[in-house]
């Protein structure tokens, strides 16, 4: 009986010992293991500055993107963070920049050249066929005042500044291919630098001339019924002995005036945004405005859909500035032609400011009548005054 009691007591001690051992293992060893694990693995809610974006990785193992993934993202235009005020510097590669470069080296270079050379060829052909348009009645020897000093000053201010702007602007597009091989890098580099500076500063003189000319001449360039007749007869340019009546400016001159004003304004605005970049979104705004009347210009032209980044805006501005500038160069070629070798007596209008009376009667008969009527009125007034 005593032996039986001892066996039961022994089993109880053994059970207690096992229970103690299990408790000790669970209470001491496992927490230690858990502690040991936490020293190499971050908790679930841990954040780190080098953690990659996106969902947590399997097993909680930290990893970074491979080089190929990083460069893939950069190539596709992903913007990163930069520790400097200009956050635009976070964009390493802009894919549209490649499109812009290819456009400038391809269509810009070729079609701009074709447009200008084509205009010169057409003018040469016209001159060969029509010859110089002479004053049919011959010079009368009587001069009539056509433009004041202020009018001619604004004209020459526009003309001189436009020539400087055209030469310095065309150097940007054609200089590397046409001028550089002739003059060499040592000369071409500084020359282009000076021309670029001249382009920026002369632009303001052009804008001033444009504004003065607009104020002086806009009233005389409003379309009227005489323009339709003038246009129907080709302005008398295509046949001899045809002199459709015209006021101070005929329809051809009005086309030049509005062409210069509208193209000049567009050149000024786009040029301003090129001089003070990354501050305007003209193309996004304009395309949005045209979109409200159902005109989806980006889709028509095959451009990416707006809104555009400020860098894209600059690229569009650059392209637009070039297109408008070349259009204006072509227009001015025609203007220079008809004002010099194309027509006898035309240059005097902007040269001395006085034109021959017969030239005025043939090309601006209604204006001559107005001037004569004014002179008669003034003469009558002068005669009448003393009698009063």
């Amino acid at each position: 009986m005593k032996r039986l009691k001892m066996r039961v007591a022994s089993r109880q001690y053994s059970f207690a010992a096992v229970a103690f051992a299990v408790a000790a293992f669970v209470g001491l060893i496992l927490p230690l293991q858990a502690h040991a694990q936490s020293s190499v693995r971050p908790p679930e809610n841990a954040t780190t500055s080098i953690a990659p974006p996106g969902p947590a990785l399997q097993g909680g193992v930290q990893a970074i993107q491979s080089d190929s993934e990083i460069w893939h993202d950069i190539r596709l235009g992903r913007t990163g963070n930069v520790a400097m005020p200009d956050q635009a510097a976070g964009l390493m590669i802009q894919s549209q920049g490649e499109d812009w470069r290819l456009y400038r080296q391809g269509p810009t270079h070729d079609y701009f050249g074709y447009a200008m050379l084509g205009t010169l060829v057409l003018l040469a052909l016209f001159f060969a066929i029509r010859g110089r348009i002479k004053i049919e009645q011959g010079l009368s020897g009587i001069k009539i005042k056509r433009f004041s000093t202020l009018e001619r000053m604004s004209h020459w201010l526009m003309a001189l500044s436009f020539i400087i702007l055209a030469i310095s602007g065309l150097n940007v597009t054609f200089g590397r291919s046409l001028i550089l091989p002739l003059v060499g890098k040592e000369f071409f580099g500084p020359m282009s630098g000076y021309l670029k500076a001249a382009h920026n500063y002369t632009a303001f003189a052009f804008m001033l001339g444009l504004a003065i000319a607009f104020v002086l001449w806009v009233v005389h360039n409003l379309p009227d019924r005489t323009d339709l007749n003038w246009l129907a007869k080709g302005g008398g340019l295509l046949s001899k002995s045809s002199h459709p009546p015209a006021k101070k400016f005929n329809a051809g001159q009005k086309v030049i005036f509005w062409g210069v004003m509208l193209l000049g304004l567009s050149l000024s605005v786009s040029g301003w945004t090129l001089m003070f970049p990354y501050q305007h979104s003209l193309f996004s705004d304009t395309f949005a405005l045209l979109g409200t009347i159902g005109l989806d210009v980006p889709a028509i032209l095959g451009l990416p859909a707006p809104p555009y980044t400020l860098l894209q805006e600059q690229q569009f501005n650059s392209a637009w500035h070039g297109i408008i500038a070349v259009a204006m160069v072509c227009l001015i070629f025609a203007h220079i032609y008809i004002g010099t070798i194309g027509m006898q007596g035309a240059f005097d209008a902007m040269g001395s400011g006085e034109v021959d009376l017969n030239w005025a009667r043939e090309h601006h008969s209604l204006w001559v009548e107005e001037v004569m009527a004014d002179k008669t009125d003034k003469a009558d007034g002068a005669v009448a005054s003393p009698a009063e």
Binding site: S49, M84, W156, L157, T202, F204
Partner: protein, 42 residues
């Protein structure tokens, strides 16, 4: 001729005015261009 010479004078004046008047706008001072006040290290 008078109008042509006058246009040259105006052209020179405007270009000179733009050259000196706009220089501060185009050339950012070095203390502003290289300022570290907005630098953020994280």
């Amino acid at each position: 001729m008078k109008a042509f010479l006058l246009s040259i004078a105006v052209l020179v004046l405007v270009v000179a005015g733009a050259r000196f008047g706009l220089k501060p706008l185009w050339d950012m001072p070095s203390d502003k261009a290289f300022s570290t006040e907005n630098v953020r290290l994280d």
